[in-house]
Amino acid sequence: MNNISLRLDKLKIEKKLGFMTHVVVGYPDLAGTEKLVLMMDKLGIDFIELQIPFSDPLADGPTIMKACEDSLRSGTKVKDAFDLARKLSPKISAPLLFMAYYNTVFKYGTEKFCKDAKASGIYGLIVPDMPIEENQSEGFFEACEKNGLIHIHVISPASNKKRLLINKKVARGFIYVTARQGITDAKKGLDPKITQYLKEVKSVFDIPLAVGFGISSRERVNMIKEYADIAVVGSAVLDIINENPKDYLKKVESFLEELKK
């Protein structure tokens, strides 16, 4: 069984809110990404997203965009993400996921990307610009499933009932729900109608809900926890790295400890 599913079962039995964190491969540098992941795993984070930097990250806000740009400027290659996953996966218990834009997958070769990801210890893929309608000609979901990877789907407050139902048909593992209509940005607030929206999503999906975008404090975790199974912390961690280039590891650690309390 896929380790994502095992971890989801465990959270369900323990009735605990899960946490998923996010790092950009090669930011602040490759060694730093490695240390961050090891630290997050030690804190008991349940899922860790490794974002493969891309030159044109459509769904990302200024924080992640800058991290991607910095990483690419210092020479990070797609191969580095696979190497890092291979190095980390035997050492940690949290399942790793790749977050990537479709061009990265497509250019690598969709089938080969999935095969190599699996071989490197990756359990799931989040590819936000690969919508269901395009899968017909791309065969991306099939390539994931063939290689034992879970493809995670992302929905937002703009997703109407029709879209929710379309997503429900193909979604696996958990559904990633953005708490705001917009791009990733920890500094922006949550949608004021967040609980009502999460309630609706929850009534549609049978799989757990991971809620992200703007989760940057204990208070915001509390706002979503009644309806969320997993809280996703992305840009907030990168903001800390950005603002504390020297002692970011310690700062990120205490931030996550506080969130998880």
Binding site: P62, N103, F106, Y108, S137, R163
Partner: protein, 404 residues
């Protein structure tokens, strides 16, 4: 083939959060196509606001000088705001109005599309925000100034290589955040479905006019139609009508920039490969990891790493041929056209002209080349003055600064 695909190209590769907005747009567009009132208003504005039809003029002096094919110039530069871009902006602006949107978002490279958007927004009483790369702002200040005079807000884009593709990214992000009240007025035949189809449909009037006008002048079809290709809107506009007429050869001209080195040009059909960027599948200049590369052209409007998906399809089908000309050849053609025919072209359009100058002498006197001059050169004043190192222009600027 599902709608929005041209062979294996095109599509709608966007985050789920944009799908409902694109579906809404597609539905509105399809219904507008069936509405005679919409078409009437569109054509009325093209005629009375933009000045269509634009003339097709015989380039007598150049034809005689080159001694080959007859050269005709489709002068799209005589459109209101100086380029073909106003045509699809009017079309999409009417659509925005029909959809009840109050705010227009746009990206711009040369500033020509932004200027057209700002114009349409002013005419239709809408708010307008234009994203523009910092590099482009630096080289196209006159258009920034005019956009601001028209009441638009021009937002500099400070990331990536700070040109057109980054402006597209910024505009899409704004749209993601403001889908309910905003209309994203994309400026070329690129982006997710339905933009490539819709923009082509609004622009196709150019090719229809060419066919009619040439029938009057020469009683025949053109043998060649030549257009420059950034994203591809002026080219698709000029070509679309001739696609089924196989005897008409269609030639797209890309920006050869400073030369063939990586990053020195915007020639997608030599240096590029298939990828999925900014919501569509097509040819892009990218590295082996799929990272979009820097491009260069003396003309901001051609300085773009991607190309419209339908053009990629028609290239693979062999229906459209692609050539490229360098910065220098374009600047030379600019001079030639100005001095022989009394037309100052946009630097983008000068690329199409440059290729026609090479082609004409190789053809017989019976053949006809139509060059689509997508815009006029006013916006390129500073770039051309710099390229030609015009001393008097520099001293004018120095004096101008004294008046600050």
């Amino acid at each position: 083939m599902p709608s929005g695909h041209f062979g294996k190209f095109g599509g709608r590769f966007v985050p789920e959060m944009l799908i409902p907005a694109l579906e809404e747009l597609e539905v509105a567009y399809e219904s507008s196509k069936k509405d005679p009132e919409f078409k009437k208003e569109f054509l009325d504005l093209l005629k009375n606001f933009c000045g269509r039809p634009t003339p097709l003029v015989f380039a007598k002096n150049l034809t005689e000088k080159l001694g080959g094919a007859k050269i005709y110039l489709k002068n799209e530069g005589l459109n209101h705001t100086g380029a073909h871009k106003i045509t699809h902006c009017i079309g999409q602006g009417l659509l925005a109005k029909r959809m009840g949107k109050k705010r227009i978002i746009a990206e711009t490279g040369a500033g020509q599309h932004g200027l057209a958007c700002a114009t349409v927004a002013a005419k239709f009483g809408m708010e307008c925000v234009v994203y523009m790369g910092e590099t482009d702002i630096a080289r196209q200040r006159p258009n920034v100034f005019w956009m601001e005079q028209l009441g638009a807000k021009v937002v500099p884009v400070e990331y990536g290589n700070k040109t057109l593709k980054d402006a597209v990214n910024a505009a899409l992000k704004d749209w993601i955040e403001n889908v309910s009240d905003s209309y994203y007025l994309l400026g070329s035949v690129v982006g997710p479905h339905p933009y490539p189809t819709m923009t082509r449909d609004f622009q196709k009037i150019v090719g229809e006019e060419i066919q009619n006008q040439l029938k009057g002048a020469e009683k025949k079809l053109p043998d060649y139609v030549v257009a420059c290709v950034g994203g591809g809107s002026n080219a698709m506009g000029a070509f679309n009508n001739f696609l089924p007429l196989k005897q008409v050869r269609l030639i797209g001209v890309e920006a050869g920039g400073r030369g063939t080195k990586k990053g020195d040009n915007a020639v997608r059909f030599k240096g590029g490969s298939v990828g999925v960027v900014e919501g569509f599948k097509s040819y892009f200049l990218q590295d082996e990891d799929g990272q979009v590369m820097n491009t260069h052209s003396v003309s901001a409007g051609l300085d773009y790493a991607g190309i419209g998906p339908e053009l990629a399809f028609l290239k693979e089908e062999g229906r459209i041929e692609f050539e490229s000309v360098t910065d220098k050849e374009a600047l030379d053609a600019f001079k030639t056209l100005a001095s022989f025919e009394g037309i100052i072209p946009a630097l983008e359009s000068a690329h199409a002209m440059a290729y026609a100058l090479k082609l004409a002498p190789k053809l017989s006197k019976k053949e006809v080349i139509v060059v689509n001059l997508s815009g006029r050169g006013d916006k390129d004043l500073f770039i051309v003055a710099e390229a030609f190192k015009d001393k008097n222009f520099y001293s004018f600027l120095k004096d101008f600064l004294k008046n600050e």
